[in-house]
Symmetry: C2
Subunit: 487 residues, 2 copies
């Protein structure tokens, strides 16, 4: 009795555990699914679109006149939808066009090869066809190693090999090879059209738009770091509003966000490759300069490498003496936050497709801060401190200087993008002034401070028509202060 | 006459130009092809292997008994070869197994769905089947967004959707659905087997081996930079042999090589994903710790980001005063070259699957050099020079310190890899001694200098059994020199 009791008890325990595992699995999958869907609801829509396209194409089977016309070739419509329908419009169009053109070309070549092979008699035919297949397949496979072909025509080459082999070889038995080829081509065309129409007209996901947003997002991530870095490194209670709002991010995720930028190359390149297939949509033309986006993306990555090195300084064991840190803190925080602001403005400019003059002002400010730092470093040699202790802070400053150089290059590259895609030019001083001293807009034309953090730098505004380019901002130093040098 | 003459002249010019363009195109393509083939001859072999597999499978069409058995389903063997045959064994196996299993599962589900649908009458059948296809296709498509599924089972999911749709829908007309499914499965199996056999037994390209080599190569690229950096930055005629041999690389390509490491993440991850499908081969077992390779790869990338920041120092506008440079040059060159040597030894250890003690010696040397540098920085405050001028050199030193930390982490991670995959342990001092003073091998057991560059650091060798771990190297300072501190 006891044995039976313990056995049934064990069994119940096993079932209970099994049920628990199953429940945990279901809950885990459900949570992940919800998260994936919430992160980007377009994923759910894409899944539904694929379901719709397939259900629609499978109706061809039930629609008698259509099925009688195409017979088993209807299958190629289903096959086309499954393999061609991709997440972005560009990828779908690229695959669809690759498939269509490769099928046409390979079909024609296959018919030709089959015709040539028949000339060599019934015995020689399989041999000749095998040689043809070998040569074409080997050559086409090798061509997939060319980077240019790999990036844009890889799928087309696969379909080329497939179709050529099928048409040339199966033709050996099918006398009505042309009829078969026409049937297949029509169904592939139908499947492809269904994909393209659903992809473009139902909640389209444009690769170009995604690339555009990714570039802006990456700049924002770097800006998050730079705007927060000063406060984090100097652990100051530096009282400007921006720092205070950054300080509220107690989770410090802003110090980690830039890490995804380090490895963004593959994503950017594939999005650019897809975007090239996309037709005009919204702001984007057919020959939109996607290469310029890649250039900007590459410069952003360059900047992120320096930021990665800079992040070491936060966690360094050796910290500079407080006295020295205090000396350079103002200039360094300004360099960091102004370069962050410049990046944020650049990102917002890309997002709204405008060219903002305020970017140049922020860059000029950060360069002025660099000059301030240089003056401090030239004049002040800290007492009671050795070079070893000063080194980490000096390294941070040096890296900030390099980062500012990178941001200048990014700004230049974004400007080039703006020129070639005709970004709207925004009044160069308006934005900066709006942000900082809204009341001054009431009486423009007088001398207004550009920057509230650094009140001794002034800009002369003589009305919109006389505005000097931001690069040539006239800096005036009231009271003959030596620490501010115009750029 | 003149008009006719000029027209024919123009025509000849046009033909001549056309011919010239055609020749340039052919030469260009031929050159690129040669280069691709020369860079990695396995590409040519892969192309020939695909050609062979396809020719072989297409013979099924001509072989009467086989063709009569399978009919048009023979086509699926060709299709399988074209889409499954990939460059590496792992990718081919992964795709083949994905295809096979997905076809089985989806085939069974498709037959079930078709059976269920028939229960709802002739009118309801298409409706029910469409709903099934919609739900399955949408769910499976959404599952492709899960990173785990995307990495390893993406192709399987595509084939699952395809097969389910084809079987459930085409079953509407084919009464002999089971017969058809068996035919297709057999031909897919045949195609898949042909791919796998040719892929594994004719000049196999193992993704695991490639990942293994890539990790070693990336370390070597960083080592190239670090070994060359000291000489390049200080432009010294520092007379050790290594620097001289580096100096001979006048093309300075060693300063650029590391750049490919910055973006190696995608390649490493895809190789690791493929490698997981590969069976035992050579040193690699089925459950080889590929994740550990990814960890090492990630640490190498971390190091490359610091090197990217370091490379700025070479091109910096501000150069430290010669006097100060000379002060720190010895220690910095040592830090850089010893860390480079450590990386090179690590790479060679990975390549030959051995754990070398000499790595720890090089790391200890580079840390000793760091201590030397620290002593210099503590004691020497340069005269007639401000902090601004010193900053770039100080930054370079600080970055070198971070790089040495990175290399320590890499060494630890490689050691962990070595432990889990049972790398052969090499006598920790033998390698270093062999390289530096072969004659001392004749009378081991006496005090021998470890390092020819820095002759005042000694290691006591009391025979192999008494060797203290390299981390605890006993440093002796002959002549009471103050600049060498034991680590």
């Amino acid at each position: 009795m006891e044995v039976i009791g313990s056995a049934s008890h064990e069994k119940a325990g096993l079932i209970c555990r099994g049920w628990w595992w199953f429940k945990a699995l279901v809950v885990g999958v459900a949570t992940k699914t919800m998260k994936l869907g919430r992160d980007d609801p377009r994923r759910v829509i894409h899944a539904l679109k694929v379901g719709l396209a397939l259900s629609f194409v499978s109706l061809f089977y039930y629609f008698r006149p259509l099925y009688n016309g195409f017979g088993d070739a209807t299958m190629w419509a289903v096959l086309t939808v499954v393999v061609v329908f991709e997440y972005t419009v560009g990828a779908t169009l690229g695959k669809g066009l690759n498939r269509g053109l490769a099928t046409l070309l390979a079909g024609a070549l296959g018919v030709g090869a089959h015709h040539l092979a028949t000339l060599s008699g019934e015995k020689g035919e399989p041999m000749v066809l095998s040689i043809f297949v070998f040569i074409l397949a080997a050559a086409a496979t090798f061509s997939r190693f060319f980077p240019g072909i790999k990036a844009r025509y890889d799928y087309g080459v696969v379909i080329f090999i497939l179709t050529f082999s099928l048409v040339s070889v199966s033709g050996y038995h099918a006398d009505k090879i042309l009829h078969l080829a026409r049937q297949r081509l029509s169904t592939i065309l139908m499947g492809g059209c269904v994909c393209m129409i659903i992809s473009i007209f139902i909640c389209p996901v444009w690769a170009g738009q995604d690339l555009h947003n990714l570039i802006a997002l990456n700049m924002e991530k770097l800006a998050d770091f730079l705007e927060g870095f000063g406060g984090e490194y100097f652990e100051s209670d530096h009282g400007d509003e921006k720092s205070a709002s950054d300080g509220s991010k107690s989770d410090k995720s802003f110090l980690q966000g830039y890490k995804s930028v380090l490895n963004s190359k593959a994503t950017e390149e594939s999005l650019a490759n897809f975007a090239r297939w996309e037709p005009c949509h919204g702001f984007f033309r057919f020959f939109h300069p996607w290469d310029q986006y890649l250039k900007v993306g590459s410069l952003i990555r360059q900047c992120s490498y320096r930021i990665e090195a800079l992040s070491d300084c936060i966690n360094s064991d050796i910290q500079a003496p407080l006295e020295f840190k205090k000396e350079i803190q103002g200039a360094c925080i300004k360099m960091s936050s102004e370069s962050g602001k410049a990046l944020r403005e650049l990102a917002s400019g890309v997002r709204t497709m405008t060219q903002k003059g305020s970017i140049d002002i922020h860059i000029a400010n950060s360069k002025n801060a660099t000059n301030d730092l240089n003056s401090i470093l030239k004049s002040t040699l800290p007492k009671n401190a050795d070079l070893l202790q000063i080194m980490p802070a000096a390294t941070a400053s040096a890296l900030l200087v390099e980062i500012i150089k990178c941001i200048e290059e990014i700004a230049e590259s974004v400007n080039e993008l703006g020129r070639s895609t005709k970004f709207k030019i925004v009044d160069p001083t308006l934005t900066a002034l709006e942000k900082q001293q809204p009341q001054t807009l009431l009486h423009r034309g007088i001398v207004n401070p550009v920057d509230t953090d650094c009140p001794h730098i002034f800009i002369e505004v003589d009305g919109p028509s006389d505005l000097s380019p931001p690069g040539n901002v006239n800096s005036k130093v009231p009271g003959g202060g030596a620490s501010s040098t115009s750029n």
